[in-house]
Amino acid sequence: MREREMGMGRSIRPAGLAAGGCGTRVFNEEDFLRNLGGDRDLVRTIVTMFLDDAPSGMECLKEAVDRNDAAEMRRLAHKMKGAAANIRAEALAHIEDNGSRRDMTGAASLFEATRRELERFRDLFTEKTDRARDDERGDAGPGNISG
């Protein structure tokens, strides 16, 4: 079960726009959709795979931080950056730019930033998916049901 920041207030910003601003979005769905030839199901499938895999990736990242293993931490962060970039989780993909270094300085904050961005991405994707599902139900709503 995924973690949730229960009871914590969240800052308000336009949906999909990352905290860092500068046009970086939490999820650039349009771009990803266009890159996959407009296949919305494929977008959902690949993002779901990413989110399913993310907890184990975060666990490995946490272990590397706890072990003070800077090389492994950088490798895992780089891997997550690549995957995040490919699915247009832009804010998540951008994190390593501020955290890539040869020692463990800032490792805990890098981990925390990654965890936070991952959660924001998950929340936004879930919200979009739920909304799309509702729309699909709406399209096939009572007015369209015969009998």
């Binding site: 891997k79 950056k81 690549g82 995957a83 970039a85 490919n86």
Partner: protein, 135 residues
């Protein structure tokens, strides 16, 4: 076109696979050794790859080393230049040292993630492959 996609990250593999599948047969390797095995198997079968897309940063044998070994195998096989697999390196890193190392390991192109479909197809066209969707 026969393509080998090599990336240790399965999301990146799947995205590349989704982009390239309409344009050719795509096989997937999850690490450098698997890529070398697939490369040799394809030659043994007489159906070598036309294109390999390889991630730079992989645990164990990285993309640079993988491609160097592929080029060494091609040299051993005395393959002429036009029979050698075309290679596109893919990385999340814009580090110029990585780009230089990629060139030295024998790649024809270097793309920074996220992989843009049109950019990738343009690179493939540059390599003189005909890029048309398989019906």
């Amino acid at each position: 076109m026969k393509i080998l996609i090599t990336d240790d990250d399965f999301i990146s593999r799947n995205v590349l696979h989704a982009i390239l599948l309409p344009y050719g047969r795509c096989d997937i390797a999850a690490d450098g050794q698997a890529a070398l095995d697939a490369f040799m198997l394809a030659h043994d079968e007489g159906k070598p790859y036309d294109l390999i897309c390889v991630d730079v940063q992989m645990p164990g044998m990285d993309g640079h080393e993988t491609l160097k070994r592929i080029r060494a195998l091609e040299t051993e096989m005395a393959l002429p230049e036009d029979k050698r697999v075309k290679a596109i390196m893919v990385s999340a890193s814009r580090d110029v040292k990585n780009v230089i190392a990629a060139k030295e390991s024998g790649c024809e192109a270097y793309l920074v993630k996220p992989v843009e479909k049109e950019r990738l197809l343009d690179e493939i066209r540059e390599l003189k492959f005909k890029v048309s969707a398989i019906s």
